[in-house]
Structure formats: C-alpha cells, structure tokens
Symmetry: C2
Subunit: 197 residues, 2 copies
C-alpha cells in the first residue's frame, strides 16, 4: 500500500472520531450552544485541524451530502433511456435511501437539521447544488412537442418539484419519528401533486 492510502485511512479514522464527538455534543446540548472549540478539545485535536477536515461547523452535520449528490446524479444518469424523468428521479431517490446512514442516526440528523434554522439553510443550499447538476440530466428525458414550455423550464420545474416532495416527505418522516416509510410518503406527495382534481 502506498503512503497515500495510509494517510487516507488515518484521515478516515480521524473524521469518524470527530464526527462522533460532534454529533454527541449536538444531541446533548444543542447545535448553537456547542462551540467548535469544545468539539476540537473533546476530540483531541486543534481547532485549526478541525477546520481542515470540515470547512465549516455546518459541514459536521450535513457534510457527507456531497457524496450523496454525486451518487444521485450517477444513478439518474444510468436509468434506461426510455424511463420518464419522474421515474428516473424516483429511482435515484430510492438509491439514496438505501445508501444513507442507519435509520436511527439519519432520524437524529434530520431532526437536528429541521430544528436548527442555520443548519436547515445550509442543507437547502447543498440541495440546490444537486438540483442544478440534475437539470441537464433530466432535460435529456423530456417528451418534446409543440405548445410545451422550453426544455430548460420543464427540467427545472420537474427537479424542483421532486426535491420539494423529498423535503416534505423527510420532514413528515422525522415528525412521525420514522414510523412511516419514507418512500411511501414520497409517493403520496408526488401522487397528490400529479393527480388531477
């Protein structure tokens, strides 16, 4: 193994240790009342190094969203070409669900995000970046025709709506303490929106 791999490994260990400390402290005393200095102290590293691992305090909670965004985009791209935009996005959502944290951890994180305005904002910001990256992917799956809006408009509207439903479903799911299946909630949201009447 090259030294790069060794460094990578110890880096992963450090990341997980910091993450565990941070989430524990956030759960114990709340996000706002926990300082970065405290996390660094209890994790046994300097504050300066903590900011090298996680660029911001908010990344301690929603940092691994980046990887999920990449996964989502790749999954949607790889769906069969004849699949509709809606179904391709639905398949991507499904993959993210299974690739996510263990459910009880995900529940804790979701509650933290929805209850903390600054975290919620940061989470939305990351989500917006996924949306922008998905628009060109979705544009390729649109049924064109006269009298339809511009493809860019269609793609943006569809992606934005899907994320709105994901967000709504996640919030409901967290509010019900995870007792209702998240995928079911998503399907209910989308059915409500797409059904006429």
């Amino acid at each position: 193994m090259s030294m790069t791999t060794l460094w990578e490994r110890s880096r992963q260990v450090a990341v997980q240790a910091i993450l565990g400390t941070a989430v524990r402290l956030f759960a114990e005393q709340g996000y706002e009342r926990t300082t970065v200095a405290q996390i660094a102290r209890e994790a046994g590293i300097s504050q300066r190094s903590l900011f090298r691992y996680f660029g911001t305090k908010e990344d301690l909670v929603c940092g691994d969203q980046e990887a999920l965004g990449e996964l989502l985009k790749r999954t949607v791209e790889q769906q069969p070409a004849e699949m509709s935009a809606w179904d391709a996005l639905r398949a991507g959502f499904e993959v993210i669900l299974t690739a996510n944290h263990p459910p009880e951890r995900a529940l804790e994180l979701s509650r933290l995000i929805f209850d903390t305005p600054s975290l919620h904002a940061r989470y939305i910001e990351k989500r917006l970046r996924w949306q922008a990256e998905l628009v060109p992917v979705i544009r390729a799956r649109l049924s064109t025709g006269p009298g339809r809006p511009a493809p860019d408009t269609q793609a943006r509207a569809i992606v934005a709506t899907v994320f709105a439903c994901i967000d709504t479903a996640t919030e409901l799911w967290a509010g019900h303490d995870g007792r209702i299946d998240l995928a079911d909630l998503y399907d209910q949201c989308l059915a409500t929106v797409r059904d006429q009447g």
Copy 2:
C-alpha cells in the same frame, strides 16, 4: 400625532436609507465582499444601530419577506371556498407579484439572491416558514376521499410544490433579465408538473 408615530416615521426613513446604501454596495462589489461596517459607515450610523434595525446581514436583502408572507396568507384565505387549492395559491402568488418592489429593484435583488448561495438558502428558509403557515389554510380546500393520502400530507405536498415552481420561475425570470413574464413562467412550470406524460 403621538410620539410613537413620529418615531415610527423616522425609523422608516432610516430603514430605507440603510437599505438603499446596502443594496447599492452589494450590487457594486458583491455580497460577500461588502462588510457590515462599511454599510454602516456609508449610511452614517453606527454598526450597533444597524444591527438593531436588521438583525442579520442577510436581512438587509431578504428581510421584508416577512410582510409578503403575511399578505400571501391573507390573500389565500380570502379566496372563495369553492376554489381549488391550486387556484387559491395561484391567486396569492399573483397578489404578491403586484405588491412587490418596482420590477427593476426586484430584478436586482433576485439576481443577488440567486447568485449568492448563502443568501439563496436563507431566502428559501424564510419561505419555508410561509409554507408552514399556509398548510392549514390549504388543508381546508382539499377534496377528500378514500385511498387518498392524509390531508396534512396532501396540503404540505401542494404548498411545497407551488413554492418550488415560484422559485424556479423567479430564477428563470432573473436569468432572462425580466424579459419573460414571471406569471407565465410560473404557469409553465406548474403545467409541466401537473400534466401527465
């Protein structure tokens, strides 16, 4: 006139002066590169007072969203009872459009918001609060029936989708420098989402 009114009046003058200075500086040199100290200096007040008028730097850009949220809620409530949830929300959106800033100012603000990730996120977060307030209003307009999702789920999904379309339309509108009608864009977004196929 009581003294409260006098104070209210001079307060409004101060607010408008600060706002003008801030927006000008943001447009000239960007949001991130403009410090609160500079805005206060050019507006002729202390930094401390600026933070009393606007709780945060972000409120300088999307602070008056609060008032619009109230207006939106009242408008939707006052629509005739037989009007569908979608149409009632559409009517509310229409009213906000006419009550908004002069179009050129609104365009400038929209560009600033959509070009600055942190602002965009904060803007959406404020909007999420409107959403929460609209959900009970919308729930009263749902066509109930067996095999349908819970009313709360339906209402949340509809409201979230409408806001997603408003957001998408506004972004497209700002991207086209306001040359395309915002209401038309909104209708196109919603038609794309609601049409089957």
